[in-house]
Symmetry: C2
Subunit: 558 residues, 2 copies
């Protein structure tokens, strides 16, 4: 913990300071916007941007990850709380913080149980499908706020809101598309131009906020943030046990997605830097601490944001000191006079959300998957569809089910080769790929995967098929050169296979059993009951058994 | 469908007839007992024993599987319905049949979607743990019925019930332990003796039923089955949509367990027979049809019972005609005068349940796992504990989570070897196991698993570690001889790896790419962007790259 701070090199400081400032300017509008997505007052987004990065800096492992509010996690928060409280009420805010607390505890527990390998749970297409579905749901949910009216044909348009919302939308899209190229053309460095373009939301929000008192837009009915109390609220735990129970399942799902989202972003950045070592179990603890921290300051669930982390990295962040500077600046913003925040127009904030999440609508994964592996493309579309039709929580479950199904399907189809001898040598190869000789009465199979519950049935079936195809087999040799482990289910299956083969007059032999596998088998009942032998090599098995067969002439195969 | 009937050989008939009769005599007390476990009147167990085996005979693939009521599925039924209706009410019976209908539809749908490979979902220890936990819950639940009183210190014992219950218990345990050896000693064949011992419950139940009117036990307060209407009831679909919704999740879980329980039994039998081909997707359809059939006759969820199927097999069943004969005999029992069934004493039925499920308390898997693989033993205990502490449904979920966790853990640890050249040859081997030479600047890694979302991070991490351990590497060669597939996630990871390595001045090369993998890669962006080459063999890569390195002298490794 904090090892990076003890080894801190002076040279890293300028980059960390500039990144800290840039990310703070990005974090203020983004935090407020994602609080709005979560159904909370915008200022709560600032509450959730102070402790989380500080705590992540203490416990996490990524050097440039920026932890705080994030669009998809905010959507999941809103969806989880929808049935429990009404947005805008005090209860809603209390439950949001409790949800962050429980998600944080779930993450801490997973970290202590060292189950970070679960980060391998989602395939890339499933994650992309989930992101696309969520982005559409979030953007759609903000249109009412953007236009100042619930989406309905019955209501007259509210032109001042539309002007602020759509105007901001056009400015932001324009900045994203044209600002960076323009700045580069006038001589600004490429990385600098990109960073300025990323700060456009800050300037648009500030400009719109300035327009409100100038034009008296709040008098004309434009919704604004409203009075913002100075300082941080505390954690309120006083809700009913019914609420705690109802939050348990959402906390599990949110904790899971917080981890997946943060890890995928951190891994992408680590790859760019090279040599950075992420430890998934420590990431779990860092994210858990960040969420508990968010709860303690009245916030809501947070995670690492890939877009903000990328800016952090591009703006020169070398260590987590950058994030600590960001947190310090946000804390300052909260103790400074916050009166100006009250006039921040919600339609403009909605515009920043829509532009941000439409940036997540990346269809390149879908295009690549469609050309490369149709099944992966369909999994992507099914996950997107799940989020759009069934909701974001069901979408996560659809994604889990698809990823797991694909994992089981793969695991249940191990590669199994019938081996033959390369003529005149001691080498044994797959007879489908090499011209290798076999001998009647002797069947040699090589299983190219560890034997475990997920594939023992497939192995059994294949053995049955090959025995049917090689009538008259008297010796079956399993060549275990690629088997690194045999679990208890597979051990039972081998014992039963041995007994079943004995009844059919076939001996079961093992060959090329690896050292660690043999150590375990030695204590098991399999070796005692085996009605064949254990051979050091396939060649030794061939020498011993090919001779003992009734018809001993080797047959060349194709 | 019914192919076996078209090919029916006369010689199979005597075995099928004797097995049909024996299983019918076993099915009558067992069906009634398991109806009681499900919280239903005993006669419903007979309703559920007629259509299911007939429909399974039409659609299933196992030749000797006996489909009908089964203890664990009955426990799950009771647990699912507990919050929806009170046992004994009409609504409870209607919901039980609807649950069978929905479970059956779930199974049919899974069969049509061809996702039978999910049978590989549970490891053997997890299944054993689930069975042990369920057996204890079932036995515990029957003690009140056995003693004629709810288990409570406040109530006086009801001696006539205790006499019937405990007496039956002692007789059944005695029969199980001593009857078969005794019969064998007096000259009965071993298989015949075993079958007679299995029919003990039938005789004990008949004897106890005869005692009731003889001794006037019903007048003394012994609970009996009560009047049984002749004939089969129909399916009642008229419940609220709230009920249908509440049954959805239980139907998914029950469908899942019906499939797993039936498949594990059928696979064990198929192995014993040898050469029998089970098709998991057709099994799903057979079991689905059986459950829909159970629903149509006012039954409850059913599955293949391993104990009954084993008796069916031992009694000579050659085809599903045996099960059809059993079904016919049970139908006869129902149209025959059913007055005698009314006097069947429940304490005796409870005794048959307790003896049957205690037979499921097989601790040998636990013992083997404990010695062979401690993690598997702990998974078994956790699943048992889950069933006992959290209930049977949560127990299934604990089992799924443990099995999946283990699957992901395995998948996320592919075997990766650093390759070196066997001196003077074209063979390349793992330098940890063989004395093989490496050359500075060139790192060759062989990944012994298909590349997919579950292991790409592990591969990335290992590459980073090896690059750190082999400073000065200019060429990284991935030897893909064992890679049968590369999914979309892994494709993206390779593209990103290629870009990241390029930034660090390292070329990425591929070698020994298999044909089908190459066909797919050829259309992908990876090959276009690759900053290295694709080699046909590891030897060709060595010849080309070892020479091009700055320091070209090979170094021998241990």
């Amino acid at each position: 913990m904090l090892e990076w701070l003890r080894q801190y090199r002076r040279a890293a400081l300028p980059g960390d300071i500039s990144a800290g400032i840039v990310v703070a300017m990005m974090m203020i509008p983004q935090g407020m916007a994602y609080a709005l997505v979560a159904g909370l007052p915008p200022v709560v987004g600032i509450y959730a941007s102070i402790f989380p990065p500080l705590l992540y800096a203490l416990f996490g492992t990524s050097t440039t990850q920026s932890v705080g509010p994030m669009a998809i996690v905010s959507l999941m928060t809103a969806s989880s709380l929808a049935s429990l409280a009404t947005p805008g009420t005090g209860l809603y805010g209390v439950l949001a913080a409790q949800l962050a607390l429980m998600s944080g505890l779930v993450l801490l527990l997973c970290g202590l149980l060292r189950i970070g390998f679960l980060a391998n749970f989602f395939s890339r297409p499933v994650m992309s499908g989930f992101t696309i579905g969520s982005a559409i749901v979030i953007a759609w949910g903000q249109f009412g706020t953007l236009l100042g009216r619930p989406l309905s044909l019955d209501m007259a348009p509210h032109w001042p809101s539309i002007a602020l919302g759509v105007g901001a939308l056009l400015l932001l899209v324009g900045a994203r598309e044209f600002l960076a190229p323009l700045l580069r053309r006038v001589g600004v460095r490429a990385s600098g131009a990109d960073i300025v373009a990323k700060l456009a939301p800050m300037f648009v929000v500030l400009g719109a906020t300035a327009l409100v008192p100038l034009l008296g837009l709040d008098q004309m009915g434009v919704a604004t943030t409203g009075t913002v109390p100075a300082g941080l609220p505390g954690l309120n735990l006083a809700t009913s046990s019914h609420h705690w129970q109802a939050l348990l399942q959402p906390a599990l799902l949110i904790g899971f997605m917080v981890f997946l989202i943060s890890m995928s972003g951190a891994q992408a950045l680590a790859l760019k830097r090279g040599g950075e070592k992420l430890t998934s179990n420590r990431e779990l603890i860092g994210l858990g601490a960040a969420n508990v921290g968010s709860a303690l300051s009245g916030g809501f669930p947070v995670t690492g944001s890939i877009s903000r982390s990328a800016v952090n990295f591009a703006a020169g962040a070398n260590t987590q000191l950058a994030s600590m500077i960001t947190a310090g600046l946000l804390a300052l913003a909260l103790v400074a006079p916050t009166g100006w925040l009250a006039l921040l127009p919600l339609p403009t904030l909605a515009a920043t959300i829509i532009v941000a999440v439409l940036g997540m609508l990346d269809l390149s994964t879908l295009r690549t998957a469609w050309r490369y592996d149709r099944a992966d493309a369909l999994a992507l579309l099914a996950t997107s569809g799940g989020v759009l039709v069934l909701g974001v929580e069901a979408g996560v479950l659809v994604g889990v089910a698809l990823s797991m199904g694909s994992l089981i399907w793969r695991a249940s189809r191990p590669h199994i080769a019938v081996l033959g001898r390369i003529h005149g040598s001691e080498h044994f190869r797959n007879i489908d790929r090499y011209s290798a000789e076999t001998t009647p009465g002797l069947l040699m199979l090589r299983v190219d995967a560890g034997l475990f519950f997920g594939n023992v049935e497939a192995v059994n079936e294949r053995i049955d098929e090959e025995l049917a195809a090689h009538a008259g087999t008297r010796h079956l040799v399993l060549v275990l050169s690629a088997v690194n482990a045999i679990d208890t289910s597979a051990l039972f299956a081998l014992v039963e296979l041995n007994a079943a083969l004995a009844q059919r007059g076939i001996s079961l032999h093992l060959a090329e059993v690896k050292g660690p596998v043999m150590d375990r088998l030695r204590d098991s009942e399999l070796l005692g009951k085996l009605n064949g032998e254990v051979f050091l090599s396939a060649a030794k098995a061939w020498d011993r058994l090919a001779g003992s067969s009734a018809a001993g002439t080797p047959v060349a195969s194709a």
